[in-house]
């Protein structure tokens, strides 16, 4: 199909023709086109539907501020809803669909809303849909939800990859228009590390859309020259397709680089986008300005667009939006658009200038002191109605209308740290407060300096200033001569007296009437108006709408615009793909894995693994014939109790504590005493938080007078180390103690069961006597095994059996477990996983994570007497508060079902038999439950009010979630060997 609106010239590559489709229809364009420019070239004006009234809409802008021309780009799992056609680079085979319409863009049944608009005024939904109450979720809301929203997500996993990265620079320049280019040149020549980031796919900014000369060069040639120089400087990094979307504390900026969005799909192993975190010592914002419209009745038809955009389409993309256009302006910039289009051979129906003293033109008709009051054309503009200065009304036939209401500096990033811009009367716009942020300066149009000359000059000046902060001396480059036209604007925001609807926020369908209604209903603060009408909440965040609404509010309040206020901007500057923020941290790589030293071996055994924090641990080891996990776990538990089992416990935190005051230090950190622990012995230790609640438990082994090895639970390894460093550095800095984590350095295995000693004797080198007499319960020592491998041996038990933990350098963990399995064959050794570990510890009554959940006191755990009152340890004082010492507090107990076949569920609550199940009668809860193959029934640990005095009592446990209600007998929390005989044999 021919590109009937294509003009001569432009910065497209006519040798590189691209085909694409929109709503299933094929078109062609050129390299250098955006989807919007290519559609316009093909005379497609209707590109979308509005959010609420489903009004037909065409492209409104030529940049990222676009409110109307949103499409679903690509198909399948790569579908991208709400993509602005104005920034989507054309590539061969591009597919786009229109969105928020049914069944088609031209005929959308939801456009019925437009007819009902009187009843759908701002906030109407707060006043209705209340009766009957049950209808909201069932009827009204589903209907509203279906009608709302814009494009569709595919619902499939995003197939593309995203990267993240970090950049550092002396000067970050945001925006590569004239100001930004000169800034980069100035800083680059001075040797500073510079990053120049541009959201467009090519450098030049507004220069690309204009025709003025720089000295005697065409702007494109000047751009090419500067970019050429910059690309040869090793200290300058040039980034196109990169939007700096947010300013954060201390000179950190977020930016997203769209690496491959201009390709059909990313090359293999390359990211779609990269999220950059930029650390900039100084930043220059040269992000330009955004044009704003003038509001009048039916100002939203396809064909109505910003005049500057129209100029950009003509000059940069060689596209006229129609054969005949009109311009509506309140300032001189509108005239420039008319001149450029006229020069390109586009017929100017008339230039309508609201100023009575508008300049005249020999090239086209200028209607001074006139206003456009209405427009016609259902799916595309056909004509506009003009009220002339003398009050008469005239129709102008035109296929497009360019509106020039003045320009707003792009101050967004200056607001991200809650900075508020100030009003500048000269340009009738908000500008950043000059020099308000030492880290971020603003130049060019973003600072309200609209001429090319001012842009160049301020870009260089501000750069020199910024680099001076860093003691880098920079010099003013020879700036080209450029136009220095003063801004000549007579503020004119909206045409009063209209009877119809005049749009402010095009996407969200907020009209002048809505603002007036909000004000009438008492929503007078800007924030209230925004929230009540949804103004500025659409995907464009009101970039072209907000100021117009403020002007109307100012009129209604009888105040000036700055007196009414402004709304500040929050990140991101333009919407950013969620995938980019996640980067590589997704799927299996969401968090790094931690693998135990026996992982490879366990995999070979067919172990089932479970996540424990970032660790993967073997949960159980199924053997042939086992079809249910309980079979495996029961077997593993019984084997430990009967002979010997082995379990990888490397995941426990290990902290090396050394120094002359190591024992004194541990006395502070643990609630029980360590000063008198003999060398070669291990002791169970309980750490409290300063608020008196149990924080963590573990063991401390004294390897020398001045050397302990402390173990922590797997979950708390990191936080306990941090806490101990706090104690060391902040609370007791006078103690001679040094800490370092050794969790990863040692492969540690629990060897548990009556035959564990015999097993170990087969690998421990003969010079180390580990007999019961020589290496008693709770002994520890440094030994060698397997002919000289250094190892540590601890005689500690979590299972209640004779047991040891043996540690070797991590690289030998794999070999050690294989060795132990080999020599253990004669004892029918089994490996056991975390499930069996859990059963064994519940049988023994050891507290673990479910009991040590941060809500338990030592007393609740039955360890109240461990808290030494003779020394100052963390948590001792506040553990003594009355509520924590109360008689009827919870205590750890054991539970057994009255009927052995009943299963106790962890998380069930305890009640007296006969009491109704409700919160008043709640007496506690089950913390851990398991089937005990040793007991032959379900068993559990629980916290029960006054539990220590209630052994033998029959209660019921209820879990309404599971419809469970069974009777249990309260016992001591030790189901095996309460006297600890087995430990000591």
């Amino acid at each position: 199909m021919s590109q009937k609106n294509r003009l001569d010239g432009g910065q497209i590559d006519r040798n590189h023709r691209l085909s694409f489709s929109f709503d299933g229809k094929n078109y062609s364009g050129y390299a250098g086109d955006t989807l919007a420019s290519a559609l316009l070239a093909n005379d497609v004006r209707l590109m979308g539907r509005s959010f609420k009234y489903h009004r037909p809409r065409g492209v409104f802008s030529a940049g990222s501020e676009e409110p109307n021309a949103l499409v679903e780009l690509r198909s399948g799992a790569r579908r991208e809803p709400n993509t602005r056609a104005t920034v989507a680079e054309l590539y061969d085979g591009l597919e786009a669909q229109s969105q928020n319409r049914f069944p088609s863009l031209r005929f959308d049944v939801m456009a019925i809303n437009d007819r009902l608009s009187s009843f759908l005024s701002a906030g109407f939904y707060y006043k209705t849909f209340m009766w009957p109450a049950a209808f909201w979720e069932k009827i009204y809301e589903p209907f509203i939800r279906r009608a709302a929203g814009l494009g569709h997500l595919s619902g499939e996993e995003d197939p593309d990859d995203y990267d993240k990265g970090f950049l550092h620079c002396d000067l970050l320049v945001i925006g590569a228009g004239p100001s930004g280019l000169v800034a980069a040149q100035t800083a680059g020549r001075a040797g500073a590390e510079v990053i120049l980031a541009e959201e467009d796919f090519t450098f030049g900014g507004r220069l690309l859309a204009d025709t003025g000369l720089l000295t005697d060069q065409h702007a494109n040639d000047w751009i090419a020259e500067v970019v050429g120089e910059l690309s040869n400087l090793p200290n300058v990094r040039l980034m196109t397709r990169t939007t700096v979307f947010g300013q954060y504390d201390h000179g950190i900026f977020g930016a997203v680089e769209r690496v491959t969005d201009h390709l059909p799909e990313p090359p293999s192993q390359k990211p779609r986008q990269i999220l950059w975190r930029i650390y900039a010592k100084r930043t220059l914002l040269t992000a330009g300005a955004t044009e704003r419209p003038i509001t009048f009745d039916n100002n939203d038809r396809p064909g109505v667009m910003l005049a500057g955009a129209m100029r950009a389409y003509a000059n940069r993309w060689a596209v006229a939006p129609a054969k005949e256009v009109a311009i509506f302006t309140n300032n001189d910039d509108g005239h420039r658009t008319a001149r450029d289009l006229n020069a390109k051979g586009v017929k100017i129906a008339a230039l309508v200038d609201s100023r009575a003293d508008a300049p005249t033109s020999p090239e086209f008709e200028v209607l001074s002191g006139a206003k456009i009051i209405d427009s016609r054309g259902r799916l595309g503009l056909k004509s506009v109605k003009v009220r002339l200065q003398d009050g008469s009304v005239k129709d102008l036939t035109c296929g497009a209308l360019g509106i020039a209401g003045g320009w707003n500096p792009n101050v967004h990033l200056t607001c991200h740290k809650r900075g508020r811009p100030v009003w500048n009367d000269h340009i009738s716009a908000f500008v950043p407060v000059p020099d308000s942020d030492p880290l971020l300066r603003v130049a060019g149009a973003a600072a309200g300096l609209f001429s090319t000359h001012e842009a160049l000059q301020s870009g260089a000046d501000k750069t020199i200033e910024a680099l001076k902060d860093l003691d880098i001396s920079a010099h003013l480059p020879d700036l080209p001569q450029a136009e220095g036209a003063p801004v000549n604007i007579a503020p004119f925001w909206y045409v009063k007296g209209g009877k119809g609807r005049a749009w402010l926020d095009l996407q969200n369908d907020v009209t002048v009437k809505d603002i007036k209604l909000a004000h009438q209903e008492g929503f007078k603060s800007v924030e209230h108006v925004k929230r009540y009408t949804t103004l500025g909440m659409a995907t464009d965040q009101g970039k072209t709408a907000n100021l117009g609404a403020l002007a109307i509010l100012a009129d209604l309040e009888g105040k000036t615009i700055p007196d009414v206020g402004t709304t500040i901007f929050r990140p991101p500057y333009t919407p950013v793909s969620i995938g980019a923020f996640a980067g590589r941290s997704r799927g299996k790589n969401f968090r790094p894995y931690r693998l135990t030293p026996s992982h490879k071996w366990a995999e070979e055994q067919g172990a089932i693994f479970v996540e424990a924090g970032n660790w993967l641990r073997a949960q159980w080891f199924p053997i042939e014939g086992e079809t249910h996990w309980r079979q495996s776990v029961d077997r593993e538990v019984l084997a430990v109790r009967k002979s010997v089992g082995i379990c990888d416990v490397t995941t426990l935190g290990k902290i090396d504590v050394q120094g002359a005051d190591a024992a004194k230090f541990l006395n502070h950190v643990y609630c029980n005493g360590f000063a008198k622990l003999p060398v070669g012995k291990t002791r169970y230790g309980l750490m409290l938080r300063e608020d008196g609640m149990a924080m963590d438990d573990g063991t401390a082994a004294r390897l020398a007078e001045d050397h302990f090895v402390v173990t922590t639970t797997t979950a708390n390894a990191v936080s306990v180390f941090r806490h101990m460093e706090f104690c060391r550095q902040c609370l007791w800095p006078g103690l001679d103690v040094q800490l370092i984590s050794t969790t990863e350095a040692w492969a540690q295995f629990a060897v548990a069961g009556p035959n564990s000693r015999q097993l170990l004797q087969k690998i421990v080198d003969p010079e180390h006597d580990i007999s019961n007499e020589a290496f008693t319960y709770m002994a520890c020592g440094e030994i060698t095994i397997c002919s000289g491998l250094r190892a540590r041996l601890f005689r500690i038990s979590f299972s209640g059996e004779l047991a040891y933990e043996i540690a070797v350098p991590a690289r030998y963990g794999d070999a050690l477990i294989r060795r132990l399995m080999d020599v253990g064959e004669e004892f029918d050794i089994v490996p056991y996983g975390t499930e069996a570990l859990g059963v064994l510890r519940i049988e023994k009554g050891h507290a673990a994570g479910n009991e040590l959940n941060g809500q338990s006191t030592a007393a609740m755990l039955g360890l109240g007497r461990m808290v030494s009152q003779k020394k100052d340890s963390i948590g001792r004082v506040l553990a003594g508060r009355p509520h924590l010492m109360r008689e009827d507090d919870y205590r750890l107990v054991g539970l057994r079902p009255v009927y052995a076949e009943d299963t106790i569920l962890s998380g069930a609550h305890l009640m007296s038999v006969g009491d109704p199940a409700n919160a008043k009668n709640d007496q506690g809860w089950v913390t851990s439950a398991a089937y005990s193959p040793h007991i032959g029934s379900s068993i559990a640990l629980a916290f029960l009010k006054k539990g220590e005095n209630r052994h033998g009592e029959v209660l019921r446990i209820v879990s309404p979630l599971d419809n469970m209600d069974i009777q249990i007998t309260v016992t001591i929390p030790h189901f095996i060997d309460p006297e600890g005989v087995r430990l000591r044999v």
Binding site: N589, P809, A810, R811, L816
Partner: protein, 190 residues
């Protein structure tokens, strides 16, 4: 110790180190590194400096620095705390060796097996490094060494030669995840 009957595995769980070449970047696992930590006892910092000076041929390095000597590297890792690194095959019992050497001037802890060690070399590693950690790698020169975060993992990065040669230590248990990060990033920038 090397005489014992058990066979070690590398951090990536292999019997031989994994070496990958991607584009101009080489990522090599280095299992032959003995590492000990050395923390000065209270008030013994100077004694420790004096003791180690002959060994290092220089003072123990300051914050953010490494000191490379003939067969030993010292790295500052914290206040009054250093890592000493040497060839594991030459120094199989390095912790004992150092402990005997410094006696009461420092607390010595075996660290060799706590870390997975990767040597990364190439003509320009900056594009790779800027994808994985927030250090200004372009500005790092030989002897710079510091901890940093790489894909949620606390690592130690040592610059051996500006831009071209870095050693990165990460937690041993996460060797596979860390290696995956390097490889993926290398493909991305290759």
């Amino acid at each position: 110790m090397s005489e014992n009957l058990l066979a070690p595995l590398t951090a990536l769980g292999k019997t031989v180190p994994v070496i990958k070449k991607i584009g101009g970047i080489t990522i090599s696992e280095n299992p032959d590194l003995a590492i000990v930590s050395l923390s000065a006892r209270m008030g013994t910092e100077q004694d420790l400096q004096n003791l180690l000076k002959p060994l290092l041929g220089a003072c123990l390095p300051g914050p953010g620095q490494a000191q490379f000597a003939e067969d030993i590297t010292a790295i500052w890792v914290g206040v009054h705390q250093w890592f000493l690194m040497a060839s594991l095959s030459d120094h199989p019992d390095y912790a004992d060796e150092i402990n005997n050497f410094v006696t009461d001037a420092a607390s010595v802890t075996e660290q060799s097996d706590g870390w997975a060690v990767f040597d990364i070399t190439g003509d320009n590693l900056v594009p790779l490094l800027e994808r994985i950690c927030n250090l200004n790698s372009k500005a790092m020169s030989s002897g710079d060494a510091t901890r940093c975060l790489i894909e949620h993992l606390g690592c130690l990065i040592i610059c051996r030669e500006s831009v071209r040669n870095f050693t990165i230590l990460g937690p041993r248990s996460s060797a596979a995840s860390l290696h995956h990060t390097f490889v993926t990033a290398a493909h991305s920038v290759a």
